[in-house]
Amino acid sequence: MSAVADTHTQEHHHGPAKGISRWLLTTNHKDIGTMYLVFSFAMFLLGGCMAMVIRAELFQPGLQIVQPEFFNQMTTMHGLIMVFGAVMPAFVGLANWMLPLMIGAPDMALPRMNNWSFWLLPCAFLILVSTLFMEGGAPNFGWTFYAPLSTTYGPPSTTFFIFAVHIMGISSIMGAINVIATILNLRAPGMTLMKMPLFVWTWLITAFLLIAVMPVLAGVVTMMLMDINFGTSFFDASGGGDPVLFQHVFWFFGHPEVYIMILPAFGAVSHIIPAFSRKPLFGYASMVYAVGAIALLSFIVWAHHMFTVGVPLAGQLFFMYATMLIAVPTGVKVFNWVATMFRGSLSFEAPMLFAVAFVILFTIGGFSGLMLAIAPSDFQYHDTYFVVAHFHYVLVPGAIFGIFASAYFWLPKWTGHMYDETLAKTHFWLSFIGMNLAFFPMHFLGLAGMPRRIPDYALQFADFNMVSSVGAFMFGATQLLFLFIVVKCVRGGKAAEAKPWDGAEGLEWTVPSPAPYHTFATPPEVK
């Protein structure tokens, strides 16, 4: 190309700008990745505080700490913040940091739009959290915001909530477009699709899911907005609409959303387990096909969240069979991970501990998912603590342990220092025990008949609730240790080599640690 382009590329070789403008104006995928990760952790703590309020109220029967109105606001905000503020941004942060490094690209495909995608998130959550201070309080209808509780009977702040969701949607869609464009267009020469690292594959499919379903979420909140402010009757039977219509559209978004929160973790774990087993991933191709199959099936199973709403029998059967099918590709993934470990040379540093716990506990969440798929049984499980146990098992040791595993795995690359292994192992064991203590008894509570989203409960549920609260406090407090470990690692520690893990594979380990501000200005050749 011309001389103009050359002078521009040379300018890129100086480091980051100084001060706050580095972060506000940046176009650098590493800066943006860092901002996503920091934001996500802040939201994790905020959503976690709300969980602590919930568990404190549920420590004993009777109303002690908060009133039911506020309790409902806490469950709603906890769910929304954890899903849209903690888990999703954490994976986008990992994608920002790692995708260009893994495929040998100089940056994300559309760097300025990348920065906009990030900054929209704090903006959306500022609006969402501000609803807590509005007249009538924050949204109090659960993170699934079923109409008409969220329309005719919702608080005035619902309109602000709707626009916050719109902004999050714009952010996610642009982020996903960026990921797809980067993966499809910026791979190093020689890196064919079937040579891509699995984290890249899972993110490609996740991005496709995001673009397909975030607009549907925007559509359903827009219909809510119209029902609330412009007198339409989408969700009101007296005008010919149907409250269940809301649930169909919502879960058409909601079920793929569940996989959006877990597929990138599948990808990351598929790097970490081989690295610490010192053995290549078993069944790479079948892993890719399994992720694809899960993603496609995720579009035709949504009504399994709605088995009790009165879906006609034929629909009920269809959604039951389709849901059961998801167990097949998910099983393939678990079997492949186990086969990767089998006859390896295993060591258990923090990333591996989290990854192994991921496989075990996510599988337990998968088992309860399979149980929930059996429609007749679901009539007993639905909207009880069994469901709460199920989705916390797939999200906490699933998504969140996947994020911790990734963080420890790549921290040396990001910071140039090794983290404190002893502290990290402590973090793991306390999280592991706390998390199981918090969520395992919820299975029993649900089976014994405790409904979800209640601030007070009958006496026979008292014991397990107390155990669960103790576990939750333990898990919550432990996460401050993670903050300490990361800050310590950023500030110093043993210098990390370019490839600190002897079994790790991939382009990201060919650049020095910490990764220079600009990497792969010239793409590497992949054989």
Partner: protein, 295 residues
């Protein structure tokens, strides 16, 4: 993969953060207008906020796109960059398709399931015992509760204005294609004529659509509040209308850029993106014409 030119990574940019502030202020303003007017409070402050936000957004759009156009004309964009833009625009249009899919899904659901159930048919037909005297028909010109949702007197038939609008939009899809061929052939004069033709057709569509809305509101009592028929009708056509407006603006800007001589025969992605968007809007209209007006 023959081309491994240096990929252009832009310097720091102020536009994303300005866009964030602009969008946040605009939407917070819109939400405040809705909430305050719902509670019967003064909305002046909220309107001021909305306008400030909208101004920031307008400034940002001119600035950001201006930046991109300048960089493109300086030759900073390699063919690889061009492909990134193409992927970006294609997936953006796909996201729009899914946005419309949500509303079409709502329309199909109420027609196939909700309304017949309320009228006594099918698996949840016992619901009819809650709604004495309700007849399930489509178009729904009586509502389960006519006091809450007064029914429209009649609805808009497909073979009047909607047919004319269909012809206008389909024709405009042809004229934009002719303009595109002219661009590839490097015939400036021809491009201008055909683009102007496209824009005139688009404006014609919008005027007729406004006419149709006035007719519906003033003479047919077909409004947003007239039950699920009005809800789906205005949601789908209104949302489409907003997209036509946006598409028309894009075409106008492309016309200005053509006049300024921004495009060359083999380097004109801005124009193509607008044309893709225009075709998408056209296809959505065909879906609307069939499922909202005819069936």
């Amino acid at each position: 993969m023959a081309d491994h030119q240096t990929y252009y990574v832009p310097e720091q940019s102020k536009w994303p953060i300005i866009a964030t502030v602009g969008l946040g202020v605009t939407l917070y303003g819109v939400a405040s207008i809705m909430v305050k007017s719902g509670q019967g409070e003064s909305t002046t402050g909220a309107w001021v906020m909305f306008f400030i936000g909208a101004l920031i957004m307008a400034y940002m759009l001119f600035g950001w796109f201006g930046n991109v156009i300048r960089e493109s004309r300086e030759g900073l964009y390699s063919p690889q960059m061009d492909r990134s833009f193409r992927w970006g625009m294609s997936w953006f249009i796909f996201s729009e398709v899914m946005f419309f899919a949500a509303f079409f899904g709502a329309l199909f659901y109420v027609r196939m399931f909700a309304v017949p159930w309320l009228g006594g048919e099918g698996d949840r037909g016992s619901s009819a015992m809650l709604w004495d005297g309700f007849q399930a028909t489509w178009p729904l010109i009586n509502n389960p509760n006519p006091e809450a949702y007064p029914a429209p007197e009649s609805v808009i038939g497909p073979w009047g204005l909607p047919l004319v609008n269909t012809i206008l939009l389909v024709t405009s899809s042809f004229t934009i294609t002719v303009a595109h061929h002219a661009l590839k052939a490097g015939n400036r004069q021809k491009i201008k004529i055909w683009m102007i033709a496209t824009i005139v057709l688009a404006l014609g569509f919008l005027i007729l659509q406004a006419e149709e809305y006035m007719h519906a509101y003033q003479e047919l009592n077909l409004t947003l509040q007239s039950g699920i028929y009005g809800s789906t009708f205005f949601m789908l056509t209104g949302f489409h209308g907003a997209h036509v407006t946006l598409g028309t603006l894009m075409l106008v800007i492309m016309l200005i850029r053509v006049i300024k001589g921004h495009f060359t025969a083999d380097h004109h992605f801005g124009f193509e993106a607008a044309a893709w968007y225009w075709h998408f809007v056209d296809v959505v209209w065909l879906g609307l014409f069939i499922f909202v007006y005819i069936l």
